[in-house]
Amino acid sequence: MNQLGKNASWPFPESPADERIAQLERRLERERRARQEAERLAENGLRDLYVSRARIELLNGISVRANESDDPLEVLRLAVREICTTLGFPFGNVLLADPDIPGAMRAAGISFARTCDSAQPFIKASHDVRIAAPADDRAEQPVMTQVPVWTPDIDTLDGFDRARLARLASFKSMLTVPVLSGRDVEAVLEFFSMDQREPELELLDVLLQAGLQIGGVFRRRQHADRLRDSALTDPLTGLPNRAAFAQNIERSFRNCRDLREPAPSLLFIDLDGFKLVNDTLGHQAGDRLLIDMADKLRMLVSNANAFEDENPFASNVQLARLAGDEFTLIVDGPDRAKLAERFAAEIHLSLRQPQWMEDNPVRVTASIGIAHDDGHYTTVSDMLRDADLAMYEAKSLGSERTVVFDQKMRNNVQSRLTLVNDLRTACENGDFILHYQPILALETEQLVGFEALVRWKRGDVIVPPSEFIAAAEESGVITLLGQWVMREACTTAVRWHKLVPDREPPLRISINVAPRQFLQPTFVQQVREILKETGADPRWIGIEITEGAAITKPHHTARVLEELRALNIQVGLDDFGTGYSSLSRLQTIPIDNIKIDQSFVRTQTRNNAQWSVVKAMLDLAHALQLRVVVEGLETEFQREELTAFGCEYGQGYLFSKPLTEEDAAALIIEQPEGPFRQMEKRIAG
């Protein structure tokens, strides 16, 4: 029971029928109004719910994609579509910051439209729109602000070029949303509508957040770009580095092969005087020189169009710094060969002007190698090798030269490759022999030893060392060959010792050791093992190194020589006098003897003798208590003179040419101690 009516009854009598009806109608009206009020409340509640959920979903959708994607344009495409469909904009368009003009924007070609045909001209104009940087920083430009801006009437906007087309499309209002990375506006989303109702602040805030989320994608992309750029850029010169070059040439080469077109031409540029600058003026000067060189090359590339007469934009030139003073150009386009050679000429020309460094005029020159492709290259590395070879060829011809790799060089390379391969096989098969040139005491003409000289048995031909030692040294085969020589010489020494076991002092075989072999960390170990293996006495052999090996690594050399001497092996310096620099260093090299190069002896004749250099060398050697051997003795005059100067030993055609092992053995047996030339006559007879 109703509590209100519990204690008292209703005091008024019932009304008559008409009044009753009127009363009921009023009640009905009140009920109706209450229902409508309830409906309105529910409608408003539903609308608010819908709107806030839609905004959350919109922001969420954009945020999720922004966090997943590394492509800002893809996220912008999604954002403009989602914002248009969610918020009912008939047209949305994306502008990007112009990378070339700070503050300017240009259309990204990304938009979303659900409009009538009359809006097409506006849409088309929006796809091509460019917005200049504001002339005045304070100018109110909706596109460059850091927050969303709503413009209820675009007709009132200053400098809005699309106003007429907007009217045609019935667009009245505009909403711009900035995409911010830090304080930089990376992009702007612009939305157009007929709707002039002011958007709620909450909506603008949601759009601001969306813009910040998209800005994050730009920031990540910039970060990734910077990382990639720094991995591919030479920090000193800012040029693409070796890795970038490798990528570029590899890609170009593959593309050309796919299209069955010749690959780009390749220039290898190496500075000639660079090491000298580094050594004399210091690394800072060297760095400045490289930066200057990079600038010059950049300038040449950017000016390239000027010297391309017919087809100025058809070519594509890529510059890189490979390492140290090595630069490279990839030259593509229909005139690539002509253009590449033109570049080389321009580079030489641009280096003519000396550069001033701390009041020193520094002039560097370049050696340039070029490789052109006529379609025959199967791998890019072959082409790189050829450009490199051409560059070395240019260097060997002197400074400021350009060499284009050609068929002749290819043949040389081919025969060199064949030579090295054959040498390697020869080492494995032992297709070498040693010849032995007698060494005599000049005063007594007594035999004291031999110099072992290697010969290559290439089929039926005996190849002299002058034709293969350089290739063996360059290819590294020399270390194998050197070991073979040492083992063979030791074996011979053992055999000969058995022929004259009591000879005192014993005969000594001098063995030449190439720098590359000598500089091996295991060299002394190798010698020890060979001595042990063959049973040779260390006193039966001598080791000769060149001046070059001695000065390359002086400390290492000194240590190795000491170790050899500690084994009782005599060590000597070969070809003395050809290296110039070592005269003064002679006292720091622990050796037993020097061998004066034959070039100092051979030219001396009775009528025209200049012994001053030789005498100076002899004086120096004797002051250091070194014994001296001369080589290249050909005349009696030379022997007499050198003997008079106090030179101890000699070898040369005057006494004997290099002999086979058998002939040398015969010599030893016949007359181990007598004057040499008589013995030889006896053998010959």
């Binding site: 539903l46 918020l87 509508s193 109702r197």
Partner: protein, 189 residues
């Protein structure tokens, strides 16, 4: 304002019934609505946010035509025209800041339908395609529902609401075998 129900028929939002009641009551008095409900055999209790079968709506419209001696088409057109001021009064957002019928009609896709969807979840509003001339707008749309007469009336109501003189015709109709429905709104010169 309606949505397709799962049983294949079409549902109508209660709002449509509410507005219809207002229009009928305004024209013929409150008893008329009661009579029409009875005659149509309709439920009669409609809340604006609820959904109800469109058969009830059409039954009431047919009953109105019968009782008042008009064609159903005319009843629906008259309903549309009279509904416009009621709707705009109830949902002032639909025409906020709009001063003319042209702007109002062009904002159907971008303003009014989105607003309707915000309140009436799942409301099936057709997308309108416009062709715009100096004194004419042609609105083309696809809708399986037989509400083109109401739409035509609503357009007239819009003209009337903004105090503009013009004609609204319906030269093409999906239900007469055309590809789509088309409304032409032509302003008097």
């Amino acid at each position: 304002m309606g949505l397709h129900s799962i049983n294949g028929g079409v549902d109508v939002k209660g709002l449509m019934f509410n507005v219809l009641e207002d229009v009928i009551t305004d024209a013929y008095g409150p008893e008329a609505w009661d009579s029409l409900i009875c005659m149509a055999g309709a439920e009669g209790a409609y809340s604006s946010l609820g959904t109800y079968p469109d058969t009830e709506f059409h039954a009431i419209a047919r009953a109105t035509a019968t009782l008042t001696g008009q064609e159903t088409t005319d009843v629906l057109q008259a309903f549309g025209q009279s509904a416009m001021p009621i709707i705009l009064e109830r949902f002032p957002l639909f025409a906020e800041g709009v001063d003319d019928a042209r702007t109002f009609l062009l904002s159907l896709n971008s303003v009014i339908h989105p607003e309707i969807r915000k309140i009436f979840a799942g409301a099936a509003c057709p997308h309108f395609k416009y062709a715009i001339g100096d004194d004419i707008i042609q609105i083309t749309y696809h809708s399986r529902r037989r509400f083109c007469d109401i739409a035509q009336g609503l357009a007239r109501g819009a003209l009337f609401h903004f105090g503009e003189a013009g004609e609204v015709s319906h030269p093409e109709c999906l239900h007469s075998g055309d590809d789509a429905c088309r409304l032409d709104i032509r302003w008097a010169a």
